[in-house]
Amino acid sequence: MTKYLLTRLRQSLITLFLVSVVVFAGIRALPGDPALALAGEERSPEALAAIRESYGLDDNVVVQYGRFIGHALTGDLGNSSRTGLPVADAIGQALPVTLELAALSLLLAIVLGIGAGVVAAVRRGKPEEWLANVIALIGLSIPTFWLGIVLVLGFAIALPVFAASGYVPFGTDPIDNLRRMVLPAIVLGSGLAAVVMRQTRAAMLDSLSADYVRTARAKGLSRRSVIGGHALRNSLVTVVTVLGLQLGHLISGAVVTEQIFVLPGFGKLTIDAVFTRDYATLQAVVLCTSAAYILINLLVDVVYSVIDPRIRLGGAR
């Protein structure tokens, strides 16, 4: 077990190193000069030279990379070249916003998606199934941006139930926080809910026609226990796998949603950094995201290996 863990840990570190190199090189391969982007409207040669010097843009890439990694290892992610604010602070402020948005969207997708999926499977061939399918199709097809604007018009302006934009930390004012987060969560979660609904429906249809369900029915178990206890529980394995796969989409979808609702999260931070060639912020953001992915993968593998010994033994018996 320890040997397996060490192997996986080593692999993760190598992956992280490679990612950091790719990110670093990729950002510098973007067309456009960060000094120019920084200098904005007033760019005299002297000002440009001073900017390049103060951010070490004249050094060769290897030196710049070494400096970046050296500082990053001590927890210093540098300062944003555009605003001068510490990047670590920016990430610290943005992370809770995106995590909350993703968690709420996920919750919404699970509740709505699984509920509708079960109904569609159980009421097969009835109007309810048709309705659930149509709603799922709409959920998959509607552009996020359009849905966002429509929801704001409907539920923040015409009926001022929710706020149109902005973020208030949950700890500061839970009610106001939710008032601002519900619409973004609906926008981000709608597509995922549709995917979950379709997966649940398909898995439920499989389960409902399986032998063990027939046996359960034959034993005279209640309808509720058959559907909830037997069919759904077995169907959830597939649904959970799909949810895991969709998490990445949730994070990338957050980019657009955060733009619409002006949420100061990871997505907005990334986009702003790209457009202003804010190397320090962009490097740090992408590196943190990659590290999170790698860590999650590592944890998943460890959990799997605990559950299923065949994995860590490489399938040997």
Binding site: L30, P31, G32, D33, P34, L36, A37, L38, A39, G40, E41, E42, R43, S44, P45, E46, A47, A50, I51, E53, S54, S80, R82, T83, G84, L85, D89, A90, Q93, A94, I149, V152, L153, A156, I157, P160, A163, A164, S165, G166, Y167, Q259, I260, F261, V262, P264, K268, L269, D272, F275, T276, R277
Partner: protein, 527 residues
């Protein structure tokens, strides 16, 4: 089309219950306001550094207007007036010594006193700090010293008339020497100046929070408890938030959103003409990159001025304004705004008219093969894209085939500075003194002359404009300069934006002047 637009305008205007209609100038709202409350102002982008020496962006200037006063400011009519200074600068007979007097009894937000030495510290930093964005505009100032507790003497290497205008912008902001010493490079995260509000916190991309500054010399007349600036780039989203009441002020609103706002009884509109310009730059000689001597370029537009003249003659400025901007901006054909208090430029009605027949004739005389193929690099905003499409259709009739290449901002800067373009959309937010709209852009090898324009006569006129103090003479100089620039057809000025600011009706006392800043010192909620 035009008739429909006119009826649309009048239809909307009749719904406007406040004292504005589109195009009508409205810079202030003098209704009485009560004490207290926080104002939330939406900006169209996130400002860069909150350090007057390093700051580059127009939105940043709006935030500074709330917390960093300047030696001089402008009034409603665009005239320069003293702000932290006690009077307009005294200038010696030879124009090379300028004396500034500072108002007594001023205190920075950190509680320290503002005196002549503090002014000297700030001016030196603006001029000399590596990476300063103020270096060029203060370059003619060779000596800066305090000659008394409240007097500062500036020595110039040549007479430099634009200096007063320069000191009415970021170069005239005085920073607390104590804060500069304490924070050094990190001043941007702890800015301390003299102003109605002081800095509290900044969350990048989300908000900049200011609170009322008790140290302010006129604190009794500051009614708000605080101001929050929020960057919201999308106009739709800004408008939605104004409607829902989450915001009270929307800065730099686009024509489309202003049109929608007009039908809202809860909203009011402010509008002032801008000092900047928008247009297209043509590459006439940028072969070695920005700031280098122009060279010979072998393209139809660079080879023959008649081709460029034909290109300009194919353009209908009125139509661009009507189609893309719903008639809410102004046609322009020179670098200096007709609203400028110093040497006003060409009025929209005096701009050249479209003449396709003459354009075709010029192309024939120039002996070029038509269609003349040109690529226009535009920025990625929807409005600029539409400007490009309208231009494309217009110049096609004269014999040009214009292809559009939307280019993201940082890439566009790099490519146009390097001279890697035919034509690009080019604009400037404008400066108080006309010099700030011409010298860097039109002088041979100027720091922002991406067109590769090199004309000794223009250079001479720019130099004269900076040294002649007599307003009437200055106006003549800039008139001639404008004509020379128009004849060169290297920068084709197309339109001038207006500063449209939308606010909720329960807010009064905000001021929107020609420099495009939203001033909140006297703002508050109505009683």
């Amino acid at each position: 089309m035009a008739v429909a637009l006119v009826s649309l305008t009048s239809g909307c205007a009749s719904l406007q219950s406040s004292a504005t209609e589109v195009g009508g100038v409205r810079k202030t709202d003098e209704r009485p306001v009560r004490d207290g409350g926080t104002l939330t102002v939406a900006l169209n982008s996130d400002p860069d550094k909150l350090d007057p020496t390093l700051a580059q962006t127009l939105v940043g200037r709006t935030v500074f207007a709330g917390m960093c006063e300047k030696l001089y400011d402008i009034d409603e009519d665009g005239a320069v007036v003293p702000q932290l200074a006690a009077a307009l600068p005294g200038v010696s007979a030879d124009g090379r010594t300028v004396t500034l007097t500072v108002r007594p009894g001023l205190t920075f937000s950190d509680g320290t006193r503002l005196d002549a030495r503090a002014v000297v510290t700030s001016l030196l930093r603006h001029r000399d700090l590596p990476g300063s964005a103020r270096g060029t505009e203060l370059a003619p100032v060779t000596g800066i010293r305090a000659t008394g507790p409240l007097t500062v003497s500036l020595t110039l290497d040549h007479p430099y008339v634009p200096l007063t205008g320069v000191l009415a912008d970021r170069a005239g902001m005085v920073m607390s020497p104590a804060a500069l010493k304490k924070y050094g490079k990190d001043f941007t995260n702890h800015p301390s100046c003299v102003g109605p509000f002081r800095f509290v916190e900044r969350v990048g991309g989300d908000r900049i929070v200011l609170e009322k500054d008790p140290h302010y010399y006129d604190a009794d007349n500051v009614r708000l408890d605080g101001v929050v600036y929020k960057p919201i780039p999308d106009g739709n989203v800004r408008l939605a938030n104004l409607r829902s009441g989450d915001l009270q002020v929307g800065d730099q609103m686009g024509p489309v959103d202003v049109r929608s706002a007009l039908t809202e009884p809860k909203l009011q509109l402010f509008n002032s003409p801008s000092l900047g310009y928008q247009g297209i730059g043509l590459n006439v000689g940028n072969v070695n990159g920005l700031g280098k001597k122009p060279g010979r370029l072998d393209t139809p537009i660079a080879r023959d001025v008649r081709v460029r003249e034909a290109f300009e003659l194919a353009i209908d400025r009125d139509l661009i304004n009507k189609v893309v901007f719903q008639g809410m901006y102004e046609p322009a054909c020179g670098p200096i705004s007709p609203q400028s208090a110093i040497a006003p430029g060409v009025k929209p009605e005096d701009c050249p008219r479209r003449d396709v027949a003459k354009a075709r004739k010029l192309l024939k005389e120039a002996g070029v093969r038509t269609p003349v193929r040109i690529e226009l690099k535009t920025s990625t905003t929807p409005e600029q894209g539409r400007v490009g499409q309208v231009l494309q259709a217009m110049v096609k009739e004269a014999g040009f085939e214009l292809t559009l290449r939307p280019t993201e901002y940082a890439t566009m800067l790099a490519e146009t500075d390097a001279g890697d373009y035919d034509v690009f959309t080019s604009g400037w937010s404008g400066r108080l003194d006309p010099d700030g709209n011409v010298s860097n852009f039109l002088k041979t090898a100027g720091a922002m002359n991406a067109y590769g324009l090199g004309d000794p006569r223009i250079d001479a006129l720019i130099a004269q404009g900076r040294t002649v103090a007599d307003p009437a003479r200055r106006t003549e100089i800039y008139d001639e300069l404008t004509r020379r620039v128009q004849d060169a057809h290297a920068m084709i000025y197309l339109y001038r934006q207006k500063n449209y600011v939308v606010a909720t009706k329960d807010v009064a006392g905000i001021r929107v002047y020609g420099d495009g800043l939203v001033r909140v010192r006297t703002a508050g909620y109505t009683r």
